[in-house]
Amino acid sequence: MAANPHDWLNEHGDYLYRFALTRLRDPHQAEDVVQETLLAAIKSTTFAEQSSPRTWLTGILKHKIIDCMRKQLREIPASELLAEEDANMDEFFDDTGHWAEKPQAWDIPHDALQQKQFLQILQQCMARLPQKLAAIFTMRDVDELDNEEICKALNITATNAWVMLYRARMGLRKCLEMHW
């Protein structure tokens, strides 16, 4: 392989770190998975010349992040995980199952500036979601893993996954509605 791992660190290190930080939020864990990724890359022989180093390294990084998340989740029993925000879920609907606060119509961003503002708010709202909800939501809607892959990767049931994704979407939508 012609590529030099030190070049990977110089050229892609910050990118990989930010990518990991958006998902794990913890700077130390993010640093660790970047290190693991580069070490795995050295030992790997799968680098395909046609893919860019960044794409290839990001692919390895995603697996390392999932490993890290699985460890985090293992430390928390699923029942507790789901109970965590039970209290918060009641705020969305009244006792009869009607919206406690009716969803408002949103302005669709029209130009690049509005689009950028929207993404900034989306970023803030993602940061406010409980980390585990944000993480599973990211796996689903950014990485586009299917439910089966998510359940297998995180060792949770399909029902748990649906409930967590529902809570993530409800929380994110509410936050966007308040700030957009």
Binding site: N4, P5, H6, L9, G13, D14, Y15, Y17, R18, F19, L21, T22, P27, E31, V34, Q35, L38, L39, I42, K43, F92, F93, T96, G97, H98, W99, K102, P103, Q104, A105, W106, I108, Q115, K116, F118, L119, Q120, L122, Q123, M126, T138, R140, D141, V142, N147, A158, A161, W162, L165, Y166, R169, M170, L172, R173, L176, E177
Partner: protein, 82 residues
């Protein structure tokens, strides 16, 4: 007849699994008469569509960089293998 809470659960799940035809019809019927759940549904799909852009936006934030200490530590690790 579904209420809004039940509908919101199924709308979210419809993004993760195929609904049964019964569920699909029940949701459709509710959406027909409920403007709030129609908005909710459109907004969930819109958020889903925006998440790719979010990833790009989040990784473009240049204020977050590897610390000098982490860089040094990783360099030392790489040197052992290379």
């Amino acid at each position: 007849m579904l209420n809004c809470k039940q509908t919101s659960v199924l709308v979210s799940q419809s993004l993760d699994r195929p609904l049964t035809w019964r569920e699909r019809w029940a949701v459709r019927l509710h959406l027909l008469i409920c403007v709030y759940c129609r908005r909710f549904t459109a907004q969930l799909k819109w958020i889903q569509g925006a998440m790719q852009s979010w990833q790009t936006h989040a990784t473009d934030r240049t204020e977050d960089v590897l610390s000098a200490a982490a860089r040094e530590r990783i360099t030392q690790q790489l040197d052992k293998f290379y």
